[in-house]
């Protein structure tokens, strides 16, 4: 390492997705969250002697659906392996997972390649009571097997990511995609979507990988972004000062922004994989593959492309709308109101003023609002056809959000229709110039910014019922610009 060249970060992700099946991966115990400990267990998930696991058909179908969404190649025949490790969260002393032949691989989502997709079972939940202080001075752990055996799909990317921000954006796309498939709750706080990141740095443009560190289980993509940025900075510093990055597992504490090395489990990677003799291979039939392909809904990446390319929606609004299917549906309802509505303007209203007004009025969700897509469509049309000004439209919107009001009625009641009589508007403009000689003089002498004060005066006089563009045009004309 010369230490002079630029360093670039190389990041790969491992994402665990808990599937929202009704039952566990290999037994009929119901999945649950937040129930009393150990009320969803049976001889299979407690690993009593002589029991046999049987895979959940739905979990296989969900995995195939994920594989299809990520444009993966599905293995004609994949098998399960035992991943051996000794820890109380795994009563069998192995996790049933997949090893050399995962159910799918070689896929892509956006600009990140997918290395593999495989099925496995989740471990039990452990509470280390000594740490949490539930039992004074104790060094015991409590094991709750409710979660043990929950179906998991692990998605492993190629090391195609280059920054914390990119990881956040891509992670959100993946999360939105999985959510859209309806195969998982993707709730990071509850652990139904968990993300580990492998981070290394190397000289820019090199195709070799540096020594990586692994960042474990961060429960929001914002934290992941910050954690990765902190780790990249740390590694660059280590190398800049002539040191070497040591392979280790790190935990990022979002409250202090500090990285802690987790005590490395010695020989942690000696899993002695062996084929699971209790399970026969999974060989997806044509019917299973067709069912997965046929069940694919329009996914965020495709929807975002359609909004941008077919509807000329701005990039940021297209992304925002695509990531949440409720918002996408609302937007489509808005433009369905009338063919005259410009989708680009409608998208800006939905993601801009409307979303802001919902937040402002009690942080309402889309499911709570009394505003229908049709009513918002009517409002957007009123602005688009210049019957009301943008300023008036914002007032109407506030009333719609507050009371579920009909925009046309509000406009009529409050007389908000724009002044369409140009003589009337010209008179008001002339008065504004007379009453505000100072800014008028400034504009005349070349300070164009001062025109804002005059526009404001006209708007005040008309109570926002004037078209801003027309007002500016008249002012400029009258002031000789």
């Amino acid at each position: 390492m010369t230490g002079t060249g630029e360093l670039e970060a190389v990041i790969g992700l491992e994402i665990h997705v808990q599937l929202s099946t009704r039952t566990k991966m290999f037994c009929g115990c119901e999945l649950s969250f937040g129930d009393q400990p150990n009320v969803h267990t049976c001889p299979v998930c407690l690993a009593h002697p002589g029991v046999l696991p049987v895979p959940n058909r739905k979990a296989i179908e969900y995995a195939l659906l994920i594989a299809a969404a990520l444009e993966c190649e599905v293995a004609p025949r994949s098998i399960f392996h035992r991943k051996n490790y000794f820890y109380p969260d795994s009563p069998k002393a192995y996790q049933i997972s997949q090893f050399d032949i995962p159910i799918a691989g070689a896929g892509r989502l956006g600009d990140v390649r997918i290395h593999r997709v495989h099925l496995e079972e989740d471990a039990a939940k452990m509470i280390h009571v000594g740490e949490s202080g539930r039992i004074q001075g104790s060094d015991a752990s409590l094991v709750d097997f409710n979660r043990g055996g929950t179906p998991l799909v692990e998605i492993v990317t190629e090391p195609d990511l280059r920054s914390g921000a990119q990881v956040r954006e891509w992670g959100q796309l993946l999360r939105a995609t999985i959510k859209q498939l309806g195969v998982s709750d993707v709730n990071m706080e509850e652990g139904s979507l968990r993300c580990d990141a492998n981070v290394s740095v190397r000289p820019s443009g090199s195709d070799r990988l540096g020594t990586k560190t692994e960042m474990k289980n961060m429960n929001s993509f914002r934290f992941i972004e910050r954690g990765i940025e902190a780790e990249i900075a740390r590694q660059k510093e280590v190398i800049a000062s002539g040191g070497k990055v040591v392979q280790e597992t790190l935990h990022f504490d979002p409250s202090t922004s500090e990285l802690h090395s987790l005590r490395s489990k010695e020989e942690a990677h000696d899993y002695r994989y062996m084929p699971e003799p209790d399970l026969v291979p999974i060989a997806p039939t044509r019917a299973m593959l067709d069912a997965a392909a046929g069940a694919l809904p329009e996914l965020p990446a495709g929807r975002s492309r359609r909004y941008r390319e077919d509807l000329a929606v701005s990039d940021s609004a297209a992304l925002q709308l695509s990531f949440e299917v409720e918002w996408a549906e609302f937007f489509e309802g808005v433009i369905a109101h009338d063919t005259e509505i410009e989708p680009r303007a409608a998208a800006n209203w939905v993601t801009g003023e409307f979303a802001a007004e919902l937040r402002k009025q009690g942080d309402q969700g889309l499911s709570e609002t009394r505003v229908t897509p049709d009513a918002l469509g009517a409002l957007v049309k009123l602005v688009g056809s210049k019957r009301i000004s943008h300023a008036s439209a914002k007032d109407v919107l506030a009333e719609m959000v507050a009371e579920g009001a009909d925009p046309l009625e509000v406009v009529e009641e409050r007389g908000l229709e724009q002044i369409s009589d140009s003589g009337e508007l010209e008179a008001i403009v002339a008065t504004a110039i007379d009453e505000n000689p100072k800014p008028a003089e400034q504009v005349r002498s070349g300070n164009e910014k001062a025109i804002g004060a005059l526009v404001g005066a006209v708007m005040k006089a008309t109570q926002g019922r004037a078209d801003g563009g027309e007002v500016t045009r008249l002012l400029r004309r009258d002031l000789g610009l």
């Binding site: 099946t21 009704r22 039952t23 037994c27 009929g28 115990c29 119901e30 009393q36 400990p37 150990n38 009320v39 969803h40 267990t41 049976c42 001889p43 407690l46 049987v54 895979p55 959940n56 058909r57 739905k58 979990a59 296989i60 025949r77 098998i79 051996n84 490790y85 000794f86 820890y87 109380p88 002393a93 509470i127 280390h128 009571v129 000594g130 740490e131 104790s138 060094d139 015991a140 752990s141 409590l142 094991v143 709750d144 097997f145 010695e266 020989e267 000696d270 002695r272 084929p275 003799p277 399970l279 026969v280 291979p281 999974i282 060989a283 997806p284 039939t285």
Partner: protein, 96 residues
């Protein structure tokens, strides 16, 4: 042949504490087992698909339908040290 170090390694992975005598015995016994299994290496397997399962079955699956779980008291019957409905175990964190 299996080395003493490998015996200790496997024992550590399995959290087994072995006495010196046991290590010596296991070194010998594991070696003889592996030597025996090694004889399989003499067979010509050119062109033979690796066999992970002896039964010619595929896709033996179960519908996603809940079945009753164990009553918690029964589930915990075999636990040496149950506590508040959980299996209490020595903290793996405390392990050396």
């Amino acid at each position: 042949m299996i080395e003493r170090e490998q015996v200790l390694h496997v024992a550590r992975l399995s959290r087994l504490k072995l006495s010196e005598e046991e290590v010596a015995v296991l070194e010998r016994e594991l070696s003889s087992i592996l030597d025996h299994v090694d004889r399989l290496a003499e067979i010509d397997i050119e062109g033979v698909e690796p066999t992970s399962h002896v039964v010619p079955l595929e896709n033996v699956l179960r519908e996603d339908l809940p079945r009753p779980s164990l009553d918690r008291r029964r589930a915990l019957e075999g636990a040496p040290d149950p506590y508040e409905g959980a299996f209490r175990v020595p903290s793996p964190q405390a392990e050396a």
